[in-house]
Amino acid sequence: MKRLTLLLTLILGAYLIWSVEDLPEWGDPTSPASTYLSPHYIENIVEETSVPNLVTAILADYRGYDTMFETVVVFCAGLTVLTILRRTERKNKKVSTPRPQREGSDIILQNTARLLIPPMQLFALYVIAHGHHSPGGGFQGGVILGASFILLALSYDLKKTLKRFKESSMLFYSGLGVLIYAGIGVVCLLLGKNFLAYAAWSNFLGITELEAHSHGMLGVEIGVAITVMAIMFSLYADLASGGDLDEGL
């Protein structure tokens, strides 16, 4: 079986690498991918959305629908892990899982974490808010926010962290983030434009359509960040404690 797989992958790989010939050269500015859609984006994005970070603009606006479902993927993953691991069936537990032993509490670690976490969260907020102009956005910021909680849990312990950030509020926030995203889209729909057409907000907020695009994107990025933050921490909490939410690593 193993040999067969190896053989198959080798043959497939050889064929694929041979066929790379047919692909455009790496870095070729005249390849179809670089000449068909992307020039339009590059030339018009600032005019159409007033957001200079092309990736953010496409992510949150042109392909905002994709990104909404991407958030849903995260949300879904969190719920999935939760449903799989947090099952109250202790009876037929064959093996008691070997728990990583924690020897005392490390003061240096804890103090460093205490020093590190506030700037980390601040940075995360910056990443979210400044995603229009620099690399970053909801995902990155959300992950960093989530990581700050993970750091807290790693340096202290999970139980203590969970007191700060309860499981039920994790769920609430994860749902809330998606709700903010989809809600912004639905409001556009109610205001008479298509789903996720942020321009619809302009009359409502009394701003120009261009600004509405920018604000809409910020709104959805915040939604994304909330969900991602909650789910990243929830993933860690469930996986690190084997679903029991007690000690963690």
């Binding site: 790496w26 870095g27 070729d28 970070n53 990581a147 996986l239 690190a240």
Partner: protein
């Protein structure tokens, strides 16, 4: 044309073998915790590669997600189960 000065193709040539080596190592190391950490290194090298290809947003995300959270999740699991793998 491709070999112009603005691009870091030399960097590229160096990084790619390392990525492949990391991938192979991650799959062959018998200690699962080690494998998890090598996977983290793999993600980090990937992230460098993408920065070099000017995909800053992607690299940023990969640094946070791939090298950060994923590695922690892998580690958390590896610590919960028997560390030695058969292959």
């Amino acid at each position: 044309m491709i070999l112009d000065n603005t691009i870091l193709w030399q960097f590229d040539v160096l990084l790619l073998p390392m990525v492949i080596i990391c991938a192979l190592a991650a799959l062959t190391i018998k200690d699962l915790v080690g494998a998890a950490i090598v996977t983290g290194a793999y993600s980090f090298l990937m992230c460098l590669l993408w920065t070099e290809m000017l995909a800053v947003d992607v690299a940023f995300t990969e640094a946070a997600v791939g090298a950060g959270v994923s590695t922690i999740l892998l580690l958390a699991t590896a610590l919960h189960i028997k560390r030695k793998a058969k292959d």
